[in-house]
């Protein structure tokens, strides 16, 4: 359980690519998919560098790699969404050219994307029939509703065909995606990070489905960056690192997680974080019985109470979409609070001008760096003064002192190693890690006494993640209160002093974290809470602590 990426200590890079045995035995079943020498270039990036990939019929093959390693690109090529710059694709021994997803589907390849490709306003059946030739013109759906329900029964994918997509849970939507591909007669199912949006118990259900599909002759490619999952589901594993194959078709049983991890990141990963013991101070953030609605007008926070003290990092654990983001928005004054309130240093911040929080020491690292946290076409300078342009020296009456602003941006650029030609460069040209540094630099430079960070490491590479973790811990050292919202349990456990688990906008319980080593009982308990079992109902033998 503990090898999962966790926290990384820099060690000497160990370049040991495993040369796996790729010669096929005579007894082996024929290859379902064979990709040879795939090259795909994006402006400024070589996403796939002569990648070879083989999928045997009837296997679950994990494709492992960090964010940005080129896994999704490779599979998008296989699914016909991108066209490779070089290389060939063979399906069941036949060389094929895909010029559109339709070709790939025809060849029996179906991809379930990380972001579901479902039209929210249409029903399950309509979504499944999308893009097909039959029925040709009139959509009389009853007959198809039945067909789809039957197909669902066959693979244990239960969902009502007449429901509209927006009414379904995330897990149900994933089933629709699978049904969509099965309905098209897909033999090869590509699942792009299918577990990222699921609760632990839902993940088990998915794994059962995948096993039953394989038993019925399908093959599965399972894209992941989580080592524990790979070990429990895959027959074989291939690893990509920076667009290159570092392991190809290694039997999952025969390789240790440690080895896989180093093939993934190119160096040893260790499990420690430099978190010094610290006594928390006064309560800085106090959330009392907060109720709020999501964008669809449905309740998403139902009486949530929690607090964060000075000098502690408090984690919020939960499956994506259980109210975490909305909680951060209520605190920041960006979402109306229907009932209850959030207090910062004893003063109300919920339902109050966002400006109040900004001017009273709150900083906020939003989950969406490009759409919320920054303004893509404005310069680095314009982006770093977003929170302090109202204060001198940058503000001079109603005017702005641009030379002071430039100087400030210059200082942050130096202090936070922001790699950018000049501070006048628009931030849309920055890499994800650099952009996150711009945002963190801005948020930290105001010396906040309270900070909310939502998914601060999502989509970053290892080095950048390490940097973000260090910055969060520095805030803790500086006696700031930090509320960390993350979907990576390991990250939460490594950094937090306490963790609250929420489910459907309700508090399931609070857990104190002592030491960075997560044990099985603790993880299981959190997993249960994430799926809606309150802490009181969990019988924990030798439970480490409880709240």
């Amino acid at each position: 359980m503990c090898t999962c990426f966790l926290v990384y200590l820099a060690t000497s890079p160990l370049e040991h690519a495993v040369t796996a045995n790729t010669t096929t035995d005579l007894q082996q079943p024929p290859l379902a998919v064979e990709m040879r020498g795939i090259v795909k270039r994006f402006p400024g990036v070589l996403a796939n560098d002569h990648v070879n990939f083989e999928l045997r019929a009837g296997e679950i093959h994990a494709l492992l790699g960090e964010n940005g390693a080129g896994k999704s690109t490779l599979m998008n090529i296989l699914a016909g969404l991108y066209k490779q710059d070089a290389g060939t694709i063979k399906v069941k021994g036949k060389t094929l050219e895909f010029s559109s997803p339709r070709d790939a589907i025809k060849a029996g390849i179906g991809m379930v994307h990380q972001h579901f490709m479902l039209v929210p306003s249409q029903t399950v059946t309509e979504n499944i029939l999308l893009g097909l030739d039959e029925p040709r013109f009139l959509m009389r759906l009853q007959e198809y509703d039945k067909k789809i329900a039957d197909l669902g029964d066959k693979y244990g994918l239960k969902v009502d065909p007449r429901t509209k997509i927006w009414q379904l849970s995330v897990g149900e939507q994933q089933r629709v995606e699978l049904l969509k591909m099965l309905y098209r007669g897909a033999d090869v199912l590509v699942m792009d990070e299918p577990t990222a949006v699921l609760a632990p118990q839902e993940i088990e259900g998915l794994f059962e489905t995948l096993h039953s599909m394989v038993a019925q002759g399908k093959s599965v490619i399972f894209i992941s960056h989580k080592l524990n999952e790979v070990a429990s589901i895959a027959d074989r594993v291939s690893v990509l690192r920076r667009g290159k194959v570092t392991a190809s078709g290694v039997p999952a049983k025969g390789v240790s997680r440690q080895e896989l991890a180093s093939m993934m990141v190119g160096r040893e990963v260790a499990l420690a974080v430099d978190k010094k013991p610290k006594t928390p101070g006064e309560i800085i953030l106090d959330v009392k019985d907060v109720h709020a609605e999501n964008d669809k007008g449905l309740p998403c926070l139902r009486g949530l109470s929690l607090h964060v003290r000075a000098g502690e990092i408090v984690g919020i654990a939960g499956v994506a979409g259980n109210g975490q983001v909305e909680l951060s928005q209520v605190i920041a004054g960006l979402r109306p609070c229907k009932k209850g309130q959030a207090l910062l240093n004893g003063k109300k911040v919920s339902n109050r001008d966002t400006r109040y929080g900004i001017e009273h020491g709150m900083s906020y690292v939003p989950e969406d760096r490009t759409h919320v946290g920054s303004s893509p076409n404005l310069s680095v300078t314009d982006n770093v003064i977003m929170k302090n342009y109202r204060k001198p020296p940058i503000s001079k009456g109603s005017m702005l002192d641009m030379s002071a602003a430039t100087k400030f941006a210059q200082e942050l650029k130096e202090a936070y190693d922001i790699i950018v030609p000049t501070v006048n460069t628009p931030v849309r040209l920055l890499s994800g890690g650099n952009l996150q540094r711009v945002i963190l630099a801005r948020e930290i430079s105001g010396h906040p006494n309270f900070m909310v960070a939502v998914q601060p490491t999502r989509g970053l590479d290892v080095g950048a993640i390490e940097g973000v973790h260090r910055l969060l811990l520095t805030q803790r050292e500086a006696d700031a209160a930090v509320l960390l919202i993350s979907e990576e349990l390991e990250e939460l456990i490594a950094l937090s002093d306490r963790i609250y688990v929420i489910y459907e906008g309700r508090m399931m319980g609070e857990i104190k974290v002592e030491g960075a080593e997560p044990d099985k009982t603790l993880m299981d308990a959190i997993g249960l809470m994430m799926t809606g079992t309150p802490l009181e109902q969990i019988h924990m033998e030798g439970a480490p602590t409880h709240g």
Binding site: S375, R390, S395
Partner: protein, 374 residues
């Protein structure tokens, strides 16, 4: 990423669009815009030829009739003056991605507001120019502002599409002014008001011909000063003030602006009002500087729409707007005598089409590749 295949033969030439990952040099956008205007003139020429005209003669005529000598140059500047103000009006709204296409109506209401001071009359005709002109400017600025504020308010409070509401207000403004011109203020049943007293008119260069003979016959009027001052003020607002920073931030990413604690509702209303007020000032300048009486036709001449194109061509930069306005002033001046009369409008439209089309060159890099032959 869009790709298309130009030819199937010989390892098909593929044109690929790649997003630009660098900032192109400063001359590049200027060159692209000029290229777009050039292409537009060629396309316009084709249509002119198709409708039986001679494009070369037409363009040569436009050039001569607008820049040929100091007299026509002065007339060109007269035509450019209202465009400067409507383009500034559009530029500030567009910067916040508020599509105010009602500058036409705001312009007309501005002219009406200024006229009301003279015709109602709010001030007696013998009032000194030093009081008359500022009062008219203020009234026009205010009326234009109100006419811009309405769609701004509806947008901010009810999320009403400002494109359509501001455009509808154009038609309403025309009817409104018609009512006064045909009815209440009509001079002897004609479709115009009585002429304004000299004190209520903006001075022209020719008014000073007695002291400076060079100014004889030059029609350029003090409205140009409104335009230039407004452009400079707007430059400071946009690039050097806190409000301008907020406007730029909202325009680029409203969610980030909200996150930075900026009040979008209030700014939407304020910016639309300012936009309307600038267009209204254009109306003041036109009615007090050129027409010198209230009359619908010369005011409802498409300055609002030209303002949209000028603002876009100038990339919303207040100072560039002055230069571009002069070019369009030339087109309109010459256009009065060109047959068929739709040509200037058509050329303006084609220029805008080419400009938008050319914008992708700033966002993408073209890469020509020959596909591998197998």
């Amino acid at each position: 990423m869009a790709e298309w295949t130009a030819s199937k033969k010989r390892g098909a030439l593929r044109v690929q669009l790649e997003p630009r990952l660098d900032v192109p040099p400063a001359w590049f956008p200027v060159a692209v815009s000029l290229g777009a205007v050039f292409v537009a003139l060629i396309l316009g020429g084709i249509v002119i030829a198709f409708s039986g005209g001679n494009p070369f003669a037409t363009y040569a005529y436009i050039a001569r009739a607008s820049f040929g000598d100091i007299g026509v140059l002065s007339d060109t500047i007269v035509k450019a003056t209202p465009i400067i103000l409507t383009a500034l009006a559009c530029s500030i709204a567009f910067r916040m991605k508020l599509w105010n296409i009602g500058a036409e109506g705001q312009f007309i209401m501005g002219a009406w507001g200024a006229s009301a001071v003279v015709l109602a009359p709010l001030l007696p005709p013998e009032t000194t120019r030093w009081l008359f002109i500022p009062a008219m400017a203020l009234a026009g600025f205010g009326m234009g502002g109100v006419w811009g504020l309405i769609p701004g308010y509806l947008k901010a409070k009810f999320n009403v599409n400002e494109i359509i509401s501001s455009l509808m207000l154009n038609y309403i403004a025309v009817s409104w002014v018609n009512y006064w011109v045909f009815g209440v203020w009509s001079e002897g049943g004609f479709q115009m008001s009585p002429k304004f007293p000299t004190n209520a008119s903006l001075p022209r260069l020719s008014d000073y011909a007695e002291t400076i003979p060079f100014f004889r016959g030059l029609t350029t009027h003090a409205g140009l000063i409104f335009g230039i001052l407004a452009a400079i003020a707007l430059w400071f607002i946009v690039y050097r003030s806190r409000w301008g920073y907020e406007i730029r931030l909202i325009g680029d990413n409203p969610r980030a602006a909200k996150y930075a604690g900026i009040n979008i509702v209030r700014n939407t209303i304020l910016v639309m009002a300012l936009s309307g007020a600038l267009a209204g000032l254009g109306g003041v300048s036109e009615v007090a500087g050129v027409v010198r009486r209230l009359q619908t036709a010369p005011l409802n001449a498409g300055y609002g729409f030209t303002g949209i194109i000028v603002a876009w061509l100038a990339k919303l930069h207040p100072l560039a707007i002055i230069l571009v306005s002069i070019l369009f002033g030339a087109l309109i001046l010459a256009g009065r005598e060109i047959q068929p009369s739709g040509i200037p409008k058509m050329i303006q439209g084609i220029i805008l089409v080419c400009l938008i089309a050319s914008d992708f060159l700033l966002r993408y890099r073209l890469r020509f590749t020959r596909g591998e032959v197998e």
